[in-house]
């Protein structure tokens, strides 16, 4: 069904670039933005969206497209140019063979891992709140695979796949979910609180919007290190992942303001999957086009098809490059969809099955597979080998987690403080201020 999912032309205005389409023929499948679908297929709201009138003809729809091209100065122009130059994707693939396999492997890892989580949850090995990422893999893979180890990722409670993409071993994540002591946080964090200092994954936050200021702070540190502490090569970028519901939260706007004001090296990635538990994005937001909120604060806002990992990767390259060069933040809205409910406890009754089917046909993994076959980037056998490898990896992770011990009882009271005695008491138990050698004056005032 997704015939030309990765054709370069689809990113912006397909009618101008794809000359084979006649004006009157409707597109092969609905346009990439939900607002442009025919009004009869509703997006979870019984209210018809006033933007597209019920009797919109295809021509009117196409006419509207130019006006809603992303109001981006930097990113979309560059990408548009690139795309228009390579309007025949077959002759100029966007990725190499190795990159393609890497992306494929990462997405399959995310998908298999999450499917295994669901199984384990229903078997009682995992408990509490578990939020799965199926369907959104393109966003995580598209962005995080472009980062260095020192770059930071801050996420929400839907953070398993962000952790995996950033490099946290599957075994560590699975053990953490089982609540075992070999988990990445020794079982003390859980599904919603994945932290890894080594891989610079700064969490895992349960409150939506809570991670955005923390990500802004990490970006602030990067800039501070470069400018005040004079670590000249510190160009670390931070990515903040959050959802459509978060974009109505005050902290989001506060951070857009500060990031643009101080030109912080951060990319705000909105994973707009249209649903906040059971609340449709369209019911909750006065202006549903989130990318527009970027220019209001003085930063570029981009909208990208989040079911297409290559498009996400192109936009990500540009946004991360901007941040690394010190040009400031970018707001990227990725239109994506979660195939499962909000969490494993969510019966997911409010979403229209037709909508789910539509997005299932745009599965990012199948789409990448198709692209790679069409462009002769990989053979069937290679991809099957990767599938097998990932299956074994995930099985191994489950076995490892199963066999790992539960935390010891003494772990309950550990790690509340980094220094439980407090600074004023030295390691020998005596007060530092009473040690005559201590008051030797370290500050030049």
């Amino acid at each position: 069904m997704a015939a030309t999912a990765f054709s370069a032309s689809k990113f912006t205005q397909s009618f101008s670039l794809n000359s084979t389409r006649s004006v009157d023929r409707p597109p092969l499948f609905p346009a990439s933005h939900p607002l442009k679908t025919t009004p009869s297929s509703f997006l979870g709201s019984t209210r018809k969206l006033s933007l597209s009138s019920p009797s919109s003809s295809t021509s009117r729809r196409r006419r509207r497209r130019p006006s809603r091209s992303p109001a981006v100065v930097a990113v979309s122009e560059v990408v548009k140019e690139k795309k228009s130059k390579s309007n025949v994707s077959l002759s100029n693939p966007l990725i190499t063979n190795e990159e393609g396999l890497e992306l494929y492997e990462d997405m399959v890892l995310g998908r298999s891992f999450e499917d295994m989580c669901a199984q384990m949850y229903y078997r009682g090995k995992m408990f509490g709140f578990v939020h799965l990422y199926n369907g959104q893999e393109a966003v995580s893979t598209g962005f995080i695979k472009l980062l260095k180890q020192e770059d930071c990722v801050v996420s929400t409670y839907r953070d398993h796949v962000h952790a995996l993409s950033k490099g946290v071993p599957a075994r560590a994540v699975m053990s953490e979910l089982f609540g075992k002591t070999t988990g990445c946080c020794r079982g003390q964090g859980g599904s919603m609180h994945m932290f890894s200092k080594e891989h610079n994954l700064l969490g895992g936050f349960a409150f939506i919007g809570e991670g955005i200021p923390v990500a802004t702070g990490a970006a602030f540190t990067s800039k501070y290190r470069r400018e005040v502490l004079k670590e000249a090569d510190c160009d670390h970028v931070t990515l903040a992942f959050f959802g459509d519901g978060t974009c109505n939260n005050g902290q989001f706007f506060e951070c857009l303001n500060m990031a643009a004001l101080w030109k912080l090296p951060i990319v705000f990635v909105v994973e707009n999957n249209l649903w906040a538990i059971g609340m449709s994005h369209l019911r909750a937001t006065s202006d549903p086009e989130i990318w527009k909120k970027g220019p209001a604060f003085g930063m570029p806002g981009v909208h990208v098809d989040g079911m297409d990992v290559l498009k996400v990767r192109e936009v990500a390259k540009e946004a991360i490059g901007r941040a690394r060069r010190g040009e400031g933040p970018t707001l990227v809205e990725c239109e994506t969809y979660r195939f499962r409910g909000h969490s494993l406890a969510d019966p997911d009754e409010l979403r229209d099955p037709a909508e789910k089917a539509r997005y299932a046909s745009r599965d990012p993994i199948s789409a990448l597979k198709k692209y790679m076959f069409e462009n002769n980037l990989a053979s069937e056998a290679e991809l099957k080998a990767i599938d097998k490898k990932i299956d074994e990896l995930v099985e191994d992770a489950v076995e490892f987690a199963d066999e790992s011990p539960l935390p010891a009882r003494s772990q309950l009271l550990e790690n509340v403080f980094a220094d439980p005695r407090g600074f004023g008491i030295g390691p020998d138990g005596r007060y530092r201020c009473e040690d005559p050698k201590f008051t030797e004056g370290t500050a030049q005032v």
């Binding site: 702070g217 951070c255 550990e414 004056g441």
Partner: protein, 369 residues
């Protein structure tokens, strides 16, 4: 929210009640004889810590060009520049979270809240992002951050600017809560807080900023810091223990003077640190005097006094000769009228009366406020 404060502080930058300007700070070689205001003590502590460690930075509203809403950060912008003394927009949740994120990554921010009442807008970050992180990440991510600012009632600022947050923050594991009283406390505790690798909530008091206290040469040394979690016995006594923190220590000392003239010898303990609470010192003192009065400005229910009372009952029950007396602020939002405000906050007479009650001196009315 800061509109009321702006009215009090004239555009010229000099608050209505005046500030004591210390033109030059001379370090005298002889001990004693020097006095320092709490404001200058805090300023000097910040100055020294920022000078010693380049990863310490100060951020908050009006800390830079305005020289600090209460002039605590006076002169720091000129010395350290706008990249280390950062004037933020009015976004408590945003900049507190940002500071926590910076602390995750190795910087040592000092976040100033114009008053701790505004910290309620950022309390999610103080508790969920800062206090709980070391535990949730199992020791991987420590948060060396300090949240400081004036706490408790000032003079006539109304209900939304007068709440005391000691009890709220002290109930949360993962935070250290410090409450300095005099200049030595202010210097020593702030320096310890900045160097501490954990989140510290540093509750100052606006009315104490301008008060001058004697300060020793050791306290003026740039490495001076006080231990966190140890209370100080400000005045020794043998009849009744009065436990207080922040401004109430001053009131307790005055009450002790009055009681001494009537033959009651009061021991005054300056808590200095509410979390961790120095239960050992309080219990030892109560076992000596057998009577306890706790004094605090905050609301009575679930307050600091309640925790101290529980601790005494659990550990020194047989030593008590009289029920523990709790003196707290009135159980109402702070009124504005001056006479009502005076009734809503503990006064010296309340402390004297309570101490006498524990000593079975006859007092006709047991005041509830």
């Amino acid at each position: 929210m800061s509109a009321i404060l702006r009215k009090i502080i004239a555009p010229g930058g000099i608050p209505a009640w005046g500030i004591r300007v210390i033109a030059s700070r001379t370090y005298s070689s002889s001990a004693g004889g020097k006095e320092m205001t709490v404001r200058d003590a805090l300023n000097s502590a910040l100055d020294e810590e920022m000078s010693a460690d380049p990863s310490v930075l100060l951020m908050g509203e009006e800390v830079g060009e305005y020289q600090g809403a209460y002039k605590v950060s006076k002169g720091l912008l000129d010395k350290y520049g706008p990249k280390r003394v950062i004037d933020t927009p009015i976004t408590e949740a945003g900049f507190t979270g940002m500071a926590v994120g910076a602390a995750y990554h190795g910087l040592r921010p000092v976040v100033e809240f114009m008053t701790f009442n505004f910290s309620m807008q950022a309390i999610d970050h103080i508790i969920n992002s800062a206090a709980k992180s070391n535990y949730m990440s199992s020791g991987q991510i420590s948060v060396p951050i300090v949240f400081r600012g004036p706490n408790g009632a000032a003079a006539g600022v109304g209900a939304q600017h007068s709440q005391c947050y000691a009890a709220w923050y002290a109930s949360c594991p993962g935070l250290k809560v410090l409450v300095p009283y005099n200049s030595e406390d202010a210097r020593g505790l702030l320096k310890a807080a900045i160097r501490d690798p954990d989140p510290v909530v540093f509750l100052e008091n606006e009315l104490l900023y301008g008060e001058s206290f004697p300060i020793s040469a050791e306290a003026l040394d740039s490495s001076f810091c006080l231990p966190i979690g140890k209370a100080k016995i400000e005045r020794e006594g043998k009849d009744v223990t009065i436990v207080a923190f922040s401004k109430m220590v001053g009131y307790a000392l005055q009450a002790a003077e009055i009681l001494a003239k009537e033959g009651v010898s009061a021991e005054v303990i300056n808590l200095r640190s509410i979390r961790p609470l120095d239960r050992a010192t309080i219990n030892t003192s109560v076992r000596k005097t057998n009577r306890l009065v706790t004094v605090e400005e905050g609301f009575p229910q679930h307050g600091v006094g309640a925790e101290i009372c529980a601790s005494i009952v659990e550990e020194s029950f047989e030593y008590l000769d009289a029920p523990v007396e709790r003196i707290t602020g009135a159980d109402v939002p702070m009124p504005y009228a001056a006479n009502l405000e005076r009734m809503a906050v503990p006064q010296v007479e309340d402390i004297v009366r309570a101490a006498k009650r524990t000593c079975y001196r006859s007092v006709p009315v047991a005041v509830n406020a």
